[in-house]
């Protein structure tokens, strides 16, 4: 069964350092999402790609976060510099849009701890 892959699964870093997360969506899924999930809360959308284009990055803290999906397949989310408040689970999801009624498939996530 096809799955969304993410790496690393866990990342510990010190504040002010740079971190990067990678996501490989299910083959053929044109839409890719990055969510942030703070402990005890639901996921919140950071950025949405349609192929290689950003569709929604309204909740992405652009002063320190960046995301790219250069060839419209895999994607990288970067934080520079990391802050204590960035500690969270970062989830990647993908979907194959069908008239807008999309089911999103989630990867296992990357747990980030900023010390």
């Amino acid at each position: 069964e096809a799955e969304v892959a993410q790496s690393p699964r866990y990342k510990i870093t010190e504040k002010s350092q740079a971190v990067a997360f990678w996501c490989d969506p299910i083959s053929g899924h044109a839409t890719l999402y990055w969510y942030r999930q703070i402990l005890g809360q639901g996921p919140e959308l950071l950025v949405q790609f349609q192929d290689e284009s950003v569709v929604d990055d309204s909740q992405l803290p652009k002063d320190r976060f960046s995301a790219e999906r250069l060839k419209g397949v895999d994607s990288t989310l970067k934080i520079q510099p990391a802050e204590l408040g960035d500690s969270a689970m970062y989830l990647c999801a993908s979907s194959f849009p069908s008239g807008g009624a999309n089911e999103q498939f989630f990867g296992p996530g990357t747990r980030l701890t900023v010390l």
Binding site: G42, Q50, V55, S95, P97, G100, A101, F106
Partner: protein
């Protein structure tokens, strides 16, 4: 703006007992509704979804949910809970739009504990 409310932060049920998790949504048009389950340290797995048609939808693992437009609710139910159902459950709402897939807005989740 779309939003989801899950009023129960934590629920404890005995194994074999029935379960109902509440979800209320706010959305300006016809919503697409989802229930996801998350085990500790894991990603989210889709339990079921409602797009249109029959308001009672069946999902995996014996779960079902009923869409009630008049109450803006999409409650999740299971007639007999198993210990393996202990997890975090998230309700989500998304909008239908032609062309580009729409984003999901999640509730804050309900943690289910199952006692033996």
């Amino acid at each position: 703006a779309q939003s989801v409310t899950q009023p129960d932060i934590h629920i404890t049920v005995s194994e074999g007992a029935s379960l109902e998790l509440r979800c209320n949504y706010s959305y300006g048009a016809t919503p697409y509704l989802f229930w996801y389950v998350q085990s500790p340290g894991q990603g989210l797995q889709l339990l079921l979804k409602y797009f249109s048609g029959d308001t009672l939808v069946q999902g995996i693992k014996g779960f079902e949910a009923e869409f009630k437009r008049s109450q803006s609710s999409f409650n999740l139910r299971k007639p007999s809970v198993h210990w393996s159902d202990a997890a975090e459950y998230f309700c989500a709402v998304g909008g239908g739009s032609t062309g580009t897939a729409s984003k999901l807005t999640f509730g804050t989740g309900t943690r289910l504990q199952v006692t033996l």
